[in-house]
């Protein structure tokens, strides 16, 4: 078992790779009262077209999330919820654009909890009746998502932002997608993606890593899996353009909101890897739009904006920066955002202060079993490894790197959605 020493935090993450390609990550924390387990499948809502052995398959949108729901069925009248309820543990799952995770929280019977997590996720039990039964529940879930005005806004924004990327579709799928899902779709996705080689396990809390290793080895020694089909995801490269630059939606908001995305090609940023792009873009955005920035101070103090949030997403082809702003003057604020994006600044003193905060965050990173479990999962999904030297990376980034990010930001495309109150509100 490999020991990965986390610099700055004084912690160790254990990595164990089985012959079948299944990986296990363990963080041992004696002081934790809980053990957090997660089994992650590298399959999410965007993976709807794939090729196996020369044959191309297209499955309905929402199938990843649908599969996550029906995976809990173990027999026609027994679910994983029933099992964990008896164990006194908490079980849940979620689906994102690029992965699906099954989670258990417990504080005793680790072996049972772990074995059963592997069992219920890796063994299929699909029937036409159970699939039909789940459809109205998931349709109500999709309606719940769309009942939130912000989600309606984001859904519209994504549709206008992406030309090829399946992120333009809801993770749950729309009701008509959900209705179209068949047992064959579920079996197809399960067969090709729910394979140990395409999955990994993360365990954090008060556990003995060597005992975990033994339990996992024993489990897989007693199971037979088909050869991994190595499905090839088919997706077109996302273009730098947007579908539509401006949109308006009337919905249940009490005040106007602006959602705006900047789509920046990664071509100019080849000198940086994705990790550095994430760190540096976040610092630059924080310096220019965060609570310590002059821009934020100006728009809030002058009552032009009530709240301003942003997020940075580094994707295959582009960097996407999305703003969510509550304002009575969305058009004017949209222009001001453009002005600021064209005049981004970075002062040495401020840059160093942000660095200091990031370095301190590496000490605090390893404190809570559930949080660390999520961080490990995200790191594997994004980088396919644990980043052990984050403290060094933060220490080594320079003010000049920040300046470079700004200097290279020559061109971008934007799309915006203005949410307007319904006349009934």
């Amino acid at each position: 078992m490999k020991e990965i020493k986390i610099k700055g935090a004084g912690e160790t993450v254990f990595e164990h790779t089985l012959k079948n390609g299944f990986r296990v990550y363990i963080w041992k924390y004696n002081l934790s009262e809980e053990v957090s387990l997660s089994l992650t499948v590298k399959y999410g809502s965007v993976h709807t077209k794939f090729k196996v052995g020369g044959q191309t398959y297209e499955v309905p949108k929402g199938i990843a999330h649908f599969l996550e729901h029906i995976k809990f069925n173990e027999t026609k009248d027994m679910t994983a919820h029933d099992y964990y309820n008896k164990l006194g543990s908490y079980v849940n799952a979620y689906t994102t654009y690029d992965h699906t995770s099954y989670e258990v929280v417990c504080n005793e019977n680790i072996k049972d909890n772990l074995n059963h997590l592997l069992y219920f996720v890796l063994n299929p039990f699909f029937t036409k009746r159970l699939i039909q039964k789940e459809k109205p529940i998931i349709i109500e879930e999709a309606k719940m998502v769309l009942n939130n005005p912000y989600n309606i806004g984001y859904d519209t924004l994504q549709k206008n932002l992406y030309i090829e990327n399946n992120k333009k579709y809801l993770v749950t799928g729309m009701p008509e997608d959900i209705k179209s899902i068949t047992i064959e779709d579920a079996q197809n996705v399960f067969r090709n993606f729910y394979h140990p080689k395409n999955m990994f396990l993360t365990i954090t809390g008060n556990v003995n890593p060597y005992e975990i290793e033994k339990i996992v080895d024993e489990y897989f020694n007693n199971q037979k899996f088909d050869k991994y089909s190595n499905p090839e995801i088919i997706c077109k490269k996302e273009l730098n353009e947007v579908v539509k630059k401006h949109d308006e939606v009337k919905t249940n908001v009490t005040k106007e909101k602006l959602l705006k995305s900047y789509k920046i090609s990664k071509k100019s940023y080849k000198v940086f890897d994705d990790l550095h792009l994430r760190i540096l873009f976040n610092i630059i955005m924080d310096l220019n739009f965060g609570t310590t920035s002059e821009f934020n101070d100006y728009v809030i103090s002058n009552n032009l904006v009530d709240e301003i949030y942003y997020m940075v997403s580094v994707e295959e082809e582009q960097i996407i920066i999305t703003f969510e702003i509550s304002s009575s003057y969305p058009i004017e604020i949209s222009k001001k955002l453009d002005e600021q994006m064209n005049e981004l600044n970075c002062l040495t003193e401020d840059f160093e202060r942000k660095k200091k905060v990031l370095i301190a965050s590496t000490i605090l990173g390893y404190e809570d079993a559930t949080d660390v479990n999520i961080d490990i999962r995200n790191s594997i999904i994004k980088y396919d490894k644990i980043i052990a030297n984050m403290k060094d990376i933060f220490s080594e980034i320079t003010f000049k790197d920040g300046e470079k990010i700004i200097e290279l930001l020559k061109k971008y495309q934007t799309t915006e959605v203005i949410l307007k109150p319904n006349s009934k509100m």
């Binding site: 934790s32 719940m144 939130n148 310590t292 920035s293 809030i300 809570d368």
Partner: protein
């Protein structure tokens, strides 16, 4: 964990020493009985003090200072717990042992105490710029409840239950309350809190507690002795049977809210038994009665919540579903409650609920906020602490749960119907 209470005459300092966390948390709680007129001004004041002080006069200055304190996380807010209004300042910061800065702890405590004792005031008035920013944001927050179907439905249901009950009051106050507040009235309210509310400092972490106590005593000077009695539990009026209201909305999905009174619960029932009952009834995920009947057997909804409003003596059941299924869902909720009252659940159900409550309590030990909160309520009103609750779980019997279920009384049904349905 070592708990120590230090009586500083006009306030107390409580320290909980634990090596479990890499951060230290200090919470300063000002407590007073709720008056409807004070809710708006209290939330207003807490937001102003979250964003500014004399030394750091705006949000930006404060944010920069907090980053210089290694991203210490400071916030102020007011909340209502039953009949009690809490006015809270809180700061989370990295344990000083990790920082190569000898004055770090003093800097953090000075920041916190100065923010409380030296607000952004000139000539007996709060600074107008911050005042206007906060006024605007609170008015938006009050309006924003209209954007969230579930919150709006629960809020409306409580108002339909009894609009004079403290349970139905919005902690942010009303738009009318907010519009009446001026910078000088805000300062009057600030003085009133500082002079009359009961004050406690709670500290949890792995820091040198003697040092922290010494620094708080040095930085927070207050000589006014105060003692108020607060009856935390709200005595909500009961009804013989449900009163039902249906209102129209422009949301895509309907909301069903059912409110029940909980009549004369004992301490053990409030602290332990109700959690077990609620787990079997609806809070225990897909295996609970409500999930089984409404979601799993009939597919009417994705989510149904069964919420225990402890200090309001209320049980609130809420679900998002299609309007055509609301009547059927109501019947299922009534059926589930009746089954709890008749003892139509098994010893195994109780065992499962006990194991799951045990897990929740143990997980709470990982959360400094939960540890503090448990400690605070033990100190305020004699609630059990986490360990005492764990010891008591096993003693609860099926008869205890049936007896408690008999105290669940019908009160209000509220339906916020989806678009295209008119008010009944």
């Amino acid at each position: 964990m070592e708990h120590i209470k230090i009586d500083c005459k006009s306030y107390n300092i409580h320290t909980i020493k634990t090596n479990r966390f890499k951060t230290t948390k200090i919470e300063v709680v000002f407590r007073m009985p709720i008056e409807k007129d004070n809710l708006g001004v209290s939330s207003f004041l807490s937001e102003v003090m979250a964003q500014s002080s004399k030394k750091y006069p705006n949000r930006r200055a404060m944010a920069i200072k907090l980053e210089n304190l290694y991203k210490a996380y400071y916030y102020a807010y007011s909340n209502k717990v039953g009949n009690c209004l809490n006015f809270i300042f809180s700061i989370d910061f990295i344990n000083p042992e990790f920082i190569d800065d000898k004055t770090y702890l003093d800097d953090v405590i000075s920041f916190l105490c100065e923010t409380i004792t030296k607000p952004n005031v000139s000539a007996e008035e709060f600074d107008l710029d911050v005042f206007n920013i906060v006024k605007n944001s609170i008015l938006i927050d009050i309006d924003s409840i209209e954007e969230n179907a579930e919150k709006k439905a629960i809020n409306n249901a409580l108002i339909k239950m009894d609009d004079k009950s403290v349970s139905s009051f919005n902690v942010l106050g009303t738009k009318e309350d907010i519009s009446k507040i001026t910078p000088s009235k805000l300062y009057d309210y600030y003085k009133s809190i500082m002079n009359n509310a009961m004050i406690d400092f709670f500290v949890i972490g792995n820091t040198n507690m003697d040092n922290i106590v010494k620094l708080i005593k040095k930085r927070y000077i207050n000589h006014k002795i105060r003692n108020q009695k607060i009856d935390y539990y709200i005595d909500n009026k009961t009804r013989k049977r449900f009163v039902m209201t249906k209102e129209a909305s422009s949301f895509l999905q309907s909301q069903l809210v059912m409110i029940y009174n909980l009549d004369n619960l004992t301490k053990d029932e409030k602290e332990i038994t109700f959690h077990l009952l609620n787990y079997i009834l609806g809070n225990g995920g897909l295996t609970s009665k409500l999930y089984r009947y409404i979601r799993e057997e009939n597919n009417y909804c994705y989510k149904v919540a069964s919420m225990y409003f402890k200090y309001d003596n209320l049980l609130c059941i809420a679900s998002s579903l299609s309007l055509e299924n609301t009547e059927k869902a109501i019947k299922m909720v009534k059926k589930a409650i009746k089954e709890m009252q008749k003892g139509d659940f098994t010893e195994d159900d109780i065992k499962d609920a006990k194991r799951n409550l045990l897990l929740s309590l143990n997980v709470n030990k990982n959360n400094p906020y939960a540890i503090l909160s448990n400690y605070e309520f033990k100190y305020y009103i004699g609630n059990y602490d986490i360990e005492e609750k764990i010891d008591l779980i096993d003693k609860i019997t099926k008869e205890d749960i049936i007896r408690l279920a008999g105290k669940i009384k019908e009160n209000t049904i509220y339906i916020l119907s989806e678009a295209a349905n008119e008010r009944d």
